[in-house]
């Protein structure tokens, strides 16, 4: 089982991990009470991909609002990417946001400050 496909809900993002393409995508809001229940399996997937796949990994994020517990979980994922990047594995993040909501860009920017791998914050206009 190398594919990850978690449907979204009102308070949790939709998450797809495509092993052969090397893409992990997430869309939506994330404010579950216990973010670890949700992100634990995503963290496992990323860890395994970086250990076994031997291919570049790209995150395509269309995340909007994150509660602090989700922010902590996402930081754990970015820490894994940072570690991989130091080991010369190609990893990158593209964070897409609606240009009318600058809060999302600010949130992405705070994550980017702690990352040295390629991290793009891309406005999407309707």
């Amino acid at each position: 089982m190398t594919e990850l496909n978690i449907p979204g809900s009102q308070s949790t993002p939709a998450i797809q991990g495509d092993w052969s393409a090397g893409v992990l995508a997430m869309q939506g809001d994330s404010y579950p009470e216990n973010s670890f229940e949700l992100f634990g399996q995503v963290i496992d997937w990323v860890e395994r991909f970086l250990r076994e796949a031997g291919r570049p990994l790209t995150l395509e994020l269309h995340l909007l609002y994150l509660n602090t517990s989700s922010i902590k979980a996402l930081m754990d994922i970015f820490d894994l990417l940072e570690e991989a990047h130091r080991d010369a594995l190609p990893v990158s993040v593209n964070w897409h946001y609606d240009s009318r909501n600058e809060r999302v860009a600010e949130l992405a920017e705070e994550f980017r400050e702690d990352c040295s791998f390629p991290f793009a914050i891309l406005p999407v206009s309707e």
Partner: protein, 180 residues
């Protein structure tokens, strides 16, 4: 009192410019449903997307902090109640307030925490937030509502206000007010 004076309650809420309020045992799904109502309300009021997101975020952090505390303390459903009000002040700024029963010593620590945050500017709050974010999860639990409180403080346009009113059985009612 033989009947509730709903009209008096309604008039009181109007005077206080309360647009949404809740009092009672709070569950995960209730937090989401009230959050939904809040978002719809903010959309109808044509709040800026960034302001709407800040109000929603502060509401979520406050109510989830209350849930985490009550769950961690194994409170009964009745004791795991929350009182939440979202209003606008004279200047039209959004105000999010929430209160719950806590152990008196925990409440005192929380009030001291909030008071310690008051003099910090945005840059200092950001540094404290990033430091808290890096703490292991076990530390986070023992220190209580740290990260959520810092997030609320960062999204507020004025220092947070906290108060503690002593109740029976060694408990106290903690309330927190944030102006967005």
């Amino acid at each position: 009192m033989d009947t509730y004076d709903l009209l008096a309650m309604r008039e009181h809420y109007h005077r206080q410019r309360i647009m949404l309020c809740f009092n009672g045992p709070i569950s995960r799904s209730l937090i989401e449903e009230i959050g939904n109502a809040l978002r719809n309300y903010l959309t109808a009021e044509q709040a800026q997307p960034s302001a709407a997101m800040d109000v929603f975020a502060v509401y979520i952090e406050m109510t989830q902090n209350i849930r985490h505390y009550a769950t961690g303390m194994n409170y009964t459903e009745q004791d795991a109640a929350a009182t939440v009000a979202i209003s606008r002040d004279e200047a039209g700024r959004y105000v999010v307030a929430a209160g719950n029963l806590v152990e008196r010593a925990d409440g005192q620590r929380l009030v001291e925490w909030v008071e310690a945050l008051a003099p910090l500017d945005k840059a200092q709050l950001k540094a404290a937030y990033k430091e808290q974010l890096r703490k292991p999860r076990t530390d986070e639990r023992s220190s209580g509502a740290g990260l959520g409180l810092l997030d609320i403080a960062r999204k507020s346009s004025a220092p947070l206000l906290a108060s503690l009113k002593e109740q029976a059985d060694g408990r106290a009612f903690f309330s927190l007010r944030a102006v967005i």
